[in-house]
């Protein structure tokens, strides 16, 4: 196992991410978090269309939107009574913050263009998110992190 700090290419935007560290942090709490998800029939990231349908030209923008979404909206509403889970969420949140910063640099350098599709896709994700109460939505989004990690 290597702590893969891969270089991800989103068009001209190149971002190094410790995806393996994020994934191992998530794997450690995945069962616990998903068990807290009261609404199994809905998906926030994949409804109605999977992330895999996003055009490659829009991937950078969607990725930036999603990392912002998790940092700004999701993690802060995922506090649990379990200290171990909270520590792992902190680990993931700080890693996401580190990546979010790098994606922001790409946006500032116009290397992360947002097309209509990414705009619509992200609006749909927000609609899905806001259709639930905030804690359920946050826990569900955290539980779907592997969908995002697999897609990235």
């Amino acid at each position: 196992l290597t702590a893969g700090n891969k270089i991800f290419h989103f068009g001209p935007c190149r971002v190094s991410m410790s995806l393996t560290e994020i994934r191992s942090g998530f794997t450690a709490i995945k069962a616990n978090v998903q068990a807290r998800d009261p609404v199994r029939t809905l998906s926030i990231l994949s409804h109605p269309h999977s992330l895999h349908k996003v055009k490659s030209s829009d991937r950078c923008c969607i990725t930036h939107h999603l990392f912002n979404f998790y940092v700004d909206k999701v993690f802060k509403h995922c506090k649990t009574e379990d200290s171990y889970v909270n520590r792992k969420i902190s680990s993931i949140a700080n890693s996401f913050l580190s990546v979010k910063r790098k994606l922001e640099q790409c946006r500032e350098q116009n290397k992360c263009i947002c097309g209509q599709e990414s705009k619509e896709k992200f609006e749909q994700i927000l609609l899905n998110y806001e259709a639930l109460n905030i804690t359920s939505a946050a826990i569900k989004s955290l539980g779907e992190l592997d969908i995002l990690l697999d897609w990235v």
Binding site: T2, A3, N5, S18, V71, S90, N94, F96
Partner: protein
């Protein structure tokens, strides 16, 4: 009312090869056992979670004055840490790091390695330093430094095959570590040379 306990002092971090330890000076109270509790705060907590602190349960109410924080320092951002002392129900104020800690500042030491000539095979055995580490191994025929060859070892396995040697020729090897998560390398290890002599290795 009981006097407030003094807060722990000299709080600092020892970080080597991506292993991070928080240390502090003991609080001395005659005839009492003083216990300590440690909490951490990443950049995310400071900027997005109301500057909240997260307890490290392995370092709650401990008597030691050191805490292994490696597992919690798992992102390349600035972390703050704090410690407080306790005797019974009495608690001190929190003592806090003077400067935030980012794992990018960890000190990286050259890897331990052992070079082996197994018959005509040039092998190197590298120290297992954990999943965060890769190795860059350089090897060359003695006297031909200009024709140095390189092998990157991403996953540590007990023995790494470098080359097939010409009999009677001396081969030299040196290695450094590389940590992708912080994009830094150690300095190179000492050079080690061996010569293959009919299946038995001869250290030089």
């Amino acid at each position: 009312e009981d006097a407030l306990l003094p807060a722990p002092q000299n709080i600092s971090i020892l970080s080597t090869n991506m292993k991070h330890f928080l240390t502090w000076s003991p609080v001395i109270i005659q005839g009492e056992t003083v216990r300590y509790s440690v909490e951490f705060q990443g950049e995310y907590e400071r900027e997005y979670a109301n500057e909240s602190w997260i307890p490290i349960c392995e370092c709650s109410l401990i008597t030691a004055t050191v805490c292994n924080i490696t597992e919690d320092i798992s992102a390349t951002v600035a972390y703050n840490l704090r410690v407080r002392a306790g005797v019974g129900a009495r608690r001190s104020e929190w003592g806090t790091l003077k400067v935030f800690f980012n794992r990018v500042t960890t000190s990286l030491t050259p890897p331990l390695m052992k070079v082996i000539a197994d018959g005509s095979h040039l092998l190197v055995e590298l120290e297992d330093m954990g999943p965060a580490f890769q190795f860059c191994v350089l090897y060359w025929k003695k006297g031909q430094e200009s024709r140095m060859q390189q092998k990157v070892v991403k996953e540590v396995r007990s023995m790494v095959h470098l080359d097939t040697m010409e009999e009677g020729t001396d081969y030299c090897v040196k290695a450094q570590t590389y940590v992708e998560a912080i994009n830094r390398s150690s300095s190179f290890s000492q050079t080690q040379c061996v010569r293959a002599q009919g299946g038995t290795s001869k250290w030089l």
